[in-house]
């Protein structure tokens, strides 16, 4: 049901609230001590909380607002919740980060940029118009360029930031060019209209292909799919840990949300069989699933293989996040509801485990001043709880029971097997075996290597609590994942598909 412009404003209250808090957080720099991190952080947290309240009010909505620019549907709702949780956690993490203290006069800007990135991610999740997609993607990108170079005294952060901005700007340029071709072919920017144009079947397939490939370059950059992933390790390594964590979850999830919506709405024969909503039926000549499958295989394989050689923890997690993009893409290959719900479940798992891992990395960097895997030697004896938590996160990332990561993978593979992509499932499981090797390398360092210095280093109660908050669902959700599954199942609904 399409709303009028006026009515539409009612549906973007969460985004509006976030924008207001963006400004408010920015303004906190004018109040009190500029160097205090607490005021802006709490403002940002409040912002996420209030937004959360409004988002909660949107549950079950299924609307297309602003002349088809923006969809408020269960699918975007799922991601919005994800982004809010991720954003709030990052704010909490950042409050403990020592790294950010080098830029202590700019806390207000830092937290406001986290909010702005979240705003962008919100719009990415709901964008149903190519222009909206482009703009929201740029908003996320620009926020992340700045965030990754935020500790600007640190040359590594500068380097990360420069590479990111060049690569990002270039990729979005490619995407824009692709959009322009699509516009030329159809005269439309709305993806529902695109769908109708496609369904006429009169379009030049080569042009569509070139446009889609160019768009893939832009989307692929956001989700770090091979071969558009190259920026990822460098940026992840150079940027502050909190930012890396944020990028690896929110920015990536937003990219996936947009990718899914674009392809799912754009290329599925909605009229034919909405219930099945399975294969991409419009372009029989073009084998989209194969493209995605190849990208998926390349992405996870490359991510895993290169991760084997990493010695820097952040870089390792960067490659691991590339690999995870590959796994998630596996679900996308099916482009069926099952695949997408599996992807959504995986996002929940990914959020929990990846943020958890990065959190520990940050804590270790704080206390031990190291990001090297060798620096983790004996962590299991020096900071047992943190080491245990990291172990849980890493095994969850590997995907072995009893962790939630296992359930995530299970559903991805299930979706593949259900749709007879057995070869892809086999590649996937082999990859997860390979991945074990480098995750365990960290575990090995923590427990199997005896430290030179064995003084006990403890983290505060709050820190331990936060670790626990992240760790418990990683295990508890494995034992009882019904709610997440239900949620994911109900979140595959996109406006217009049902």
């Amino acid at each position: 049901m399409v709303q009028t412009i006026y009515e539409s404003f009612g549906y973007v209250i969460p985004e509006t609230v976030l924008s207001v808090f963006f400004v408010l957080t920015l303004l906190t720099s004018l109040v009190g001590d500029r160097r205090s991190k607490y005021l802006p952080a709490y403002t940002a947290l409040l912002g996420f909380a209030v937004t959360g309240a409004f988002v909660a009010g949107q549950i079950g909505m299924d609307q297309l607002v602003f002349s088809g620019m923006y969809a408020v549907d269960p699918f975007s709702w799922f991601f919005k919740v994800l982004f809010l949780v991720s954003g709030a956690l990052i704010v909490l993490f950042s409050m403990q980060s020592r790294e950010l203290d080098t830029a202590s006069t700019k806390y207000a800007e830092y937290y406001s940029l986290i909010i702005s990135l979240t705003i962008g991610a919100f719009f990415m999740a709901g964008a149903s118009n190519l222009l909206m997609m482009y703009l929201s993607l740029e908003l996320v990108s620009i926020s992340s360029y700045i965030l990754s170079g935020f500790t600007k005294e640190n040359p590594r952060a500068d380097e990360a930031s420069l590479k990111y901005v060049i690569y990002g700007a270039f990729s979005s340029g490619l995407m824009l060019y692709g959009i322009s071709i699509l516009y030329g072919l159809t005269g439309e920017l709305n993806i529902y209209a695109l769908n109708q144009a496609f369904s006429s079947g009169a379009l030049s397939q080569v042009s569509v292909l070139i446009a889609i490939v160019l768009m893939l370059a832009g989307l692929g950059y956001k989700i770090s799919a091979v071969p558009f992933h190259f920026w990822t390790p460098d940026v992840y390594e150079g940027a502050p840990v909190t930012v890396t964590a944020f990028l690896s979850v929110t920015s990536k999830a937003a990219g996936f949300a947009m990718l899914i919506r674009f392809f799912k709405i754009g290329f599925i024969d909605i009229a034919a069989q909405p219930a099945v909503a399975g294969m991409w039926q419009i372009f029989h000549g073009l084998n989209w699933t194969d493209i995605i499958a190849v990208l998926s295989v390349l992405t996870m394989t490359l991510g895993n293989l290169v991760a084997l050689w990493q010695t820097n923890m952040k870089r390792l997690l960067a490659y691991s996040s590339i690999a995870h993009a590959g796994y998630i893409l596996m679900g996308f290959v099916t482009l069926t509801d099952q695949g997408i719900s599996a992807m959504l479940m995986y996002f929940v798992a990914y959020l929990l485990m990846n943020l958890g891992a990065f959190y520990i990395v940050m804590l270790v960097a704080n206390k031990y001043q190291t990001e090297d895997i060798d620096g983790y030697a004996g962590l299991g004896y020096r900071s047992p709880y943190a080491a245990f938590a990291l172990t849980v996160f890493l095994f969850s990332l590997t995907g072995i029971p009893p962790t939630f990561g296992f359930i995530g993978k299970l559903y991805l593979f299930a979706a593949l097997i259900k749709t007879n992509y057995i070869w892809l499932a086999i590649v996937g499981v082999l990859n997860s075996v390979v991945s074990l090797y480098y995750y365990v390398k960290v575990v090995r360092s923590m427990y199997l290597v005896t430290p030179a210095d064995s003084t006990r280093v403890d983290f505060g109660f709050g820190t331990n609590l936060l670790m626990t908050v992240l760790m418990v669902p990683n295990i508890a959700l494995m034992l009882y994942f019904t709610p997440v599954l239900n949620w994911a199942e109900h979140s595959v609904l996109m406006f217009g598909l049902h």
Binding site: P401, P402, F406, A414, Y437, V440, Y447, L448
Partner: protein, 534 residues
């Protein structure tokens, strides 16, 4: 439900008792090491007592395998219930435990070996808290594998035991522990992901009627997967003798074969054994290897009877290779533990040979061999542990003449060695005899060739015996002391079992015969499509 304590079934207790123990261990202050040991011991003793109670109450006449009514001590509750999700179907993962004659020996074995392992762990040198916590977690995982009847649950337990094992080898192991631990971990994970895929494939292929709602639903219930009529005709694994069923069988086979381990997936085993601490070697050889063959019998065989019939010859050949190859490799070893590790490969080949025969005596022999080998190898590793604790070397050639220095030790060891050789009157003889008898009936020549293993085993075992215990005692070992009371407590129960089962194998064979006969019958009938059963 008859067999309950505090409203919770026996099998749940036996599975999760160690977990309670683990919680207690974690709560004990780090300095109080004795309390941890005694907690672990108490947990395993209680487990053993429960196993004995289960044993006493077990009804041998029930048939198990594919018959839900043939299982005993059954506990079945919905664990995960997701009605009406479009594509995954009605997701119902049951908390479904139960035992039959196939799992009973394994439950007994696990309880026994776990108990012995705690005693062998008494002198663990560092991080006792972590050690006993992980040990008990491992115990839960192992026990769970043997009592789970829902494949999802089975898989969770299967993987659950992977993590503690990694740490137990990796932290408390020998000099190359890291390599061994990661090798073990990678291999086993590779195996289990294959199992995972097949499990999913089976899930989508099977459609049963939900008794509660009357709708059709997919299920992870192993028993439902065994009934060909439950398969959706268009599903991947539908039919008898179809292509994907063979593929799935092979994938499952590899998954389980890595655990057994079957040539050429065996190379993790010697490394893991050599590096693991004594108690963990005991667990590894005593229980973990049996999970592979248990997996064959519990899952591969009854779910893919057609494929079993097709590939049984290949299985037997692999069994033969394992026997001969393991024995030959064992002969070349000079590291005591490695030698025993290879001998395990050889002995597990007998299991494979027996179960591949697909007749009563072969399968019974194989299952009995699983139990017996568990006990005997546990003894052997304990024996190596005893000597390693004292001499800090495991080189077979470093010793000699220990018989005079450590007479009791030598006596016990002789029993273990001769049991491994398959001397009549000791347990392994019966199981090997039955395995070979079964195999001979089905694959005459393979059985004949495999019997070379009998000579080879005697060869390397006696050679080792000679090198370590006979001859002159080197001067440097004059200070070695004989086994102490604690070690006797761990060794003597096993020795009693070895002798007892050697003379009265019926104790163990009787409860499992109905189940195994049903299994054999089932495979032949369903595998050839003779009957779809009800």
């Amino acid at each position: 439900m008859q067999y309950q304590f505090l409203g919770i079934g026996y099998l749940t207790w036996i599975t999760f008792l160690p977990l309670i123990g683990m919680a207690v261990v974690l709560l004990i202050p780090k300095s109080n090491i004795n309390a941890m040991k005694w907690t672990a011991l108490a947990a395993t003793i209680l487990q053993l007592v429960l196993a004995a109670i289960i044993w006493v109450n077990f009804k041998p006449s029930l048939s198990g395998i594919n018959d839900p009514n043939g299982f005993q001590f059954v506990e079945k509750t919905r664990w995960i219930d997701l009605p009406g999700v479009a594509w995954f179907g009605h997701v119902a993962v049951d908390y479904f435990l139960g035992i039959d004659g196939l799992s009973l020996p394994m439950v007994m074995l696990t309880a026994l070996i776990s108990f012995v392992g705690v005693i062998a762990s008494w002198n663990i040198g560092k991080s006792q808290k972590g050690y006993f916590a992980l040990y008990l977690l491992l115990d839960t995982g192992m026990m769970g594998v043997f009592v789970a009847l829902d494949m999802f649950l089975f898989y969770v337990f299967w993987e659950l035991m992977l993590l503690p094992m990694y740490f137990l080898i990796g932290i408390w192991g020998g000099p190359r522990r890291e390599y061994a631990a990661i090798k073990f971990f990678l291999y086993t994970l590779l195996g289990s992901v294959l199992i995972l895929l097949v499990m999913l494939g089976l899930y989508f292929s099977v459609n049963v009627t939900d008794p509660a709602t009357g709708q059709a639903m997919h299920t992870f219930d192993m028993l439902a997967m065994m009934n060909p009529q439950n398969y959706d005709p268009h599903a991947l694994f539908a039919g008898i003798g179809t292509y994907w069923r063979y593929v799935a069988f092979i994938a499952l086979f590899i998954g389980f074969a890595i655990k057994v381990p079957i040539f050429p997936f065996h190379t993790w085993l010697p490394d893991a054994h050599v590096e693991a601490p004594t108690a963990i070697s005991v667990i590894l050889a005593g229980v973990l290897l049996k999970m592979g063959t248990y997996g064959f019998l519990r899952i591969s065989f009854p779910i893919f009877p057609d494929a079993v019939l097709k590939f049984s010859y290949a299985l037997a050949i692999l069994g033969f290779i394992n026997i001969v190859y393991g024995a030959l490799c064992a002969m070349a070893q000079t590291d005591f533990k490695k030698l025993i590790a290879y001998s395990s490969i050889s002995h597990m080949g007998v299991v494979l040979l027996g179960i591949a025969a697909l007749n009563t005596q072969g399968v019974a022999g194989g299952v009995l061999q699983m139990f017996n080998h568990g006990v005997v190898t546990a003894m052997l590793f304990l024996i190596v542990g005893v000597i390693y604790d004292r001499a800090h070397t495991r080189g077979v050639n470093d010793f000699g003449g220990l018989a005079n220095q450590m007479p009791v030790y030598t006596g016990i060891m002789t029993v273990a060695f001769f049991a491994a050789i398959g001397l009549p009157g000791l347990s392994e003889f019966i199981s090997e005899l039955l395995s070979y008898l079964g195999a001979f009936q089905t694959f005459r020549w393979i059985a004949i060739f495999s019997s070379i293993g009998i000579v080879l085993t005697a060869g390397y075992m006696l050679w080792t015996l000679q090198r370590v215990f006979l001859g002159q005692l080197p001067e440097k070992w004059k200070g070695l002391t004989d086994v102490n009371g604690r070690e006797l407590v761990s060794l003597v129960p096993l020795m009693v079992v070895v002798i007892l089962l050697g003379v009265f194998p019926s104790i163990m064979l009787h409860p499992m015969s109905a189940t195994l006969n049903n299994l054999v019958d089932f495979i032949h009938k369903v595998g050839t499509g003779m009957t779809a059963l009800k």
